[in-house]
Subunit: 332 residues, 2 copies
Amino acid sequence: MTVDIAQSKARGIASIYNSAVAAWAIAALWEIGALDELHRNRTLDAADFARRGGLDVQSTTGLFRALSAVGLVLRQDTVVTPLDGFDEMYRDKSFFHWLGRGSAELFQQIPAVLRTENRTGDHYRRDPAAIAYACREIDQVTYAPTFRAALDRVDFPFTRVADLGCGSGARLMQILDRYPGTTGIGVDIARPSIDVAVKEAAEAGFAERAEFLQGDVLRLERRPEYDDVELLTCFMMGHDFWPRENCVATLRRLREVFPAARRLLIGDATRTSLPDTELPVFTLGFELGHDLMGTFLPTIEDWQSVFEEGGWELVRTNRIEMTVGEVIFELA
Amino acid sequence: MTVDIAQSKARGIASIYNSAVAAWAIAALWEIGALDELHRNRTLDAADFARRGGLDVQSTTGLFRALSAVGLVLRQDTVVTPLDGFDEMYRDKSFFHWLGRGSAELFQQIPAVLRTENRTGDHYRRDPAAIAYACREIDQVTYAPTFRAALDRVDFPFTRVADLGCGSGARLMQILDRYPGTTGIGVDIARPSIDVAVKEAAEAGFAERAEFLQGDVLRLERRPEYDDVELLTCFMMGHDFWPRENCVATLRRLREVFPAARRLLIGDATRTSLPDTELPVFTLGFELGHDLMGTFLPTIEDWQSVFEEGGWELVRTNRIEMTVGEVIFELA
């Protein structure tokens, strides 16, 4: 009995260790296309897959050994088949990628990042391309369905939209695609993102309907282009509005800068208050990562306490809460 | 019932994800001294610890939240106490450090490292200082007790020792310390390690008894300094002897270069053949890491098949098998 308990504890630590290796394997296997193929075909020969893709056979098989070690696949030599948890993991693969590919350097450097004396300026590094790769899918699995529903609930006809913090413009183009006859403006602080947005909008045939302006959403000034905007969207940057007094000021300013705006949709992650042992995928890494980076994350209650003072009426709170307390506020 | 199963699956994926975050937290908390303090005092206030050490309070608390998420500690706000698995994890902390601090870049870059076209020259990076930090303790928790016992079993008096692949000389100095009246030679291919070894041996009062020579253990030539060596030790580099024909040649050459040698102790990790779901701490990361780096790892059986041909008699095989199939071969 004593032996059993000791072994069970040892298995527990081994399970933590092997999960860490498996997390890297999930990120890599997604990026090289192996997860998609296994999800589709329900069986995959790692050696065959590696040879087809010009990859090292032993290492590729080793990645599936890591998935097998944590019970996600059954492995017989180089041939693997999904087990029960595989499809759940497949849905969540982008969160593992955010952690192991996009944010690995931040977490590796924790001992240095923790030091108060180091926490100024660029005190950490992440991989922006990998973060962008993961976030495209994170947006799809978290916000997209709720966002579409929130758009459908807009109870007035609109012809002009602005997306604040538009990145490379994907969200704005989705709206224009969904609502023929509308025009839109994307605003982002990053010049490279604006350049990509202009190029991709032209390629997608939205050159006449979409324009993109470089600007700091936290310090916008009135412009003629903003005068007729009826619908505002702002995703995955709302936490930058904070702390509280700045958030109130920014919300008020949006009313002044966009005088015709009748609806504002804010979608963002919020800080959760779940017990440590009930944290879902992503939350623990996302919140620790933002603590390490020194980024404030408001709770849903924090948000709900500023809208009235900021000059907006809260129409509806959509708690997605899939992983990191995602929420979409519909404001009028 | 269906709901229960679905939740249990989701918890499984969350547990894998949170374990990956916890692995980084273990590595960092060890390096900043927090694990040692919690292990010693059985309670720790993360906020107090952070303030004393000039560390960010919220991030430091977040690291313990990660340990709490996987059941290693109980956390009440900033105060933590160890749970059942804590001491087991504490014993294994150096393996988490090897993974999350020393080898993170290798694992982060898997998609590039896998590509056959990239697998030449320096196709990966790790953090050598962090690897060395972890390996000092890995040596202590794995080889040290078995190594001491193997030394005690040497059944002839010896006065001169050589450690092959001596690094910064710690092992050679341990032997000299344990056996007064002996002298020793350390051989290593890395000039910086030799320089550190010379300096540390002088500081430890071994200047008269220890000398260090730069040399490639795989291509040694006879030297007067080697003539009287009776005991050879070689740790954590034996896998570099391989593939097989090279290994046989190196073992034979050691007999020629050290004509008076009567015992050779080889300690190294070996490739395991455990079922995927029974892999202990370290093995999965260690073997995948070496596959990614393109380093051959022999099995114990591989080793046992070369000794006779290499001119040595196997006196005893010490299977440590704590984590990565560690073994010490005693050869005469």
